[in-house]
Symmetry: C2
Subunit: 244 residues, 2 copies
């Protein structure tokens, strides 16, 4: 799905694609070296569960490539996605021994893992890691709160448009397209995963995607490839005050 460098064994941090956005972004070379001593890579296939809620966590880490999801499940099977993990996002909570959520790979995922105990020691020693983690956590908190508005107050159509807007915006930044060019991207999520993210059923997701297509807000190539001819139109549909 997403391009992924072929990595075998240990990789040099200096050449890491997420070097300047991950939890290690602010580290000096000596700090990086200490991180490198406690790090290792793990690879997961699309669909595979990375961590089960309640499992002992002996590592924390960063998503290097691919997309993973954070989700919660009730006894009767209702599930709600509570986070989308993109490259550079952090997994795990320092100081907590047990995972609070299920983590699942939705595409092939490469993770850079740090052994937990030494990582916690590093956090205490080197302010750069702790500061960066605080910054990232504050960003995630903002994203979670943004999402609470989507879940609590938006219609199914607005929910779909909101999700597509987020992915489209990320894509626009990543590829630095011109403002007026149509945005094209692949959905990294199945209809079911979209439903779990949006608090809908997969049938409703399917219906609303079809409706947006019929209304010309988006067009589809196959099931996953989406073209947005007019991004501001999509933002309107999402109900966000895009201004202008």
């Amino acid at each position: 799905m997403l391009q992924e460098p072929i990595l075998t064994g240990t990789q040099n941090c200096a050449e890491c694609p997420i070097r300047h956005r991950a939890v290690c972004a602010r580290c000096e070379t000596d700090e990086l070296q200490r991180l490198e001593e406690v790090k290792y890579y793990r690879r997961f296939e699309a669909g595979q569960t990375i961590i089960w809620c309640g499992d002992r966590m002996d590592f924390v880490g960063s998503v290097v490539s691919g997309v993973a999801t954070l989700s919660q499940t009730m006894e009767d099977g209702r599930t709600q996605m509570v986070g989308l993990l993109l490259p550079s996002d952090f997994v795990g909570r320092p100081g907590r021994p047990v995972a609070a959520y299920d983590v699942t790979a939705t595409t092939d995922v490469l993770m850079c893992c740090f052994r937990k105990a030494p990582f916690e020691g590093l956090m205490a020693d080197t302010p750069h890691i702790a500061h960066r983690l605080l910054e990232m956590t504050l960003d995630e908190l903002d994203a979670a709160r943004e999402w609470m508005l989507v879940l609590g107050r938006k219609t199914a159509r607005e929910k779909i448009a909101s999700l597509l807007s987020i992915i489209a915006r990320r894509d626009a930044i990543l590829h630095q397209r011109s403002k007026d060019a149509p945005v094209v991207f692949d959905l990294p999520l199945t209809r079911e995963a979209m439903a779990d993210y949006l608090g809908l059923t997969l049938e409703t997701v399917s219906r609303q995607v079809s409706a947006l297509r019929k209304d010309g807000v988006i067009s589809l190539e196959g099931k996953r490839r989406i073209t947005v001819p007019d991004l501001s139109r999509l933002l309107d549909e999402a109900g966000d005050d895009s201004a202008t």
Copy 2:
């Protein structure tokens, strides 16, 4: 609503009721002294807006007493509460010049404010503040994610039960009651505020509260005072896996 100490002018941190839970919890006496130099108190009446979304923020701070809410509003007036601020909770984001949410006092509120620029300087110097803030932010992120499940997947009845559970649990901890004694507390929120928190209308909130009363899960004295005869019953209604 909540008892509130009568404070005039500056107060000594050593006697502060939230001394050991707020952002300053880990500070040594010399760090506290530096904090005290940049702090001041502000008082807000119930119903008053503390901060408008988009306002310049020249301070951050802690709720000392009372209850405040964090909320987002769409252009057409739909609003979603995204956080409940209780005593010791932190307000504002270091490094951000502008408020991202509306902050409203739902009861009389006393806030301990720190001038933003010097506070940010202190954060860079003293690891205790940054560490505590990270810990608090991670807790808030967990709470936000917990709430996403409520908003996305729970029924109206379960939503009400979930909200009451949260308040009841906090009250049980605060008052250290025996396990089996009935829990009694005052709702710090109007029906409308509850609706904004739960992603419902106030009519639905009212109906479901009545239904829980008719079914004996709770009983009411006036509109606000609630008795929970059997907490585990309430937790069941909330749909959480309370286990035993």
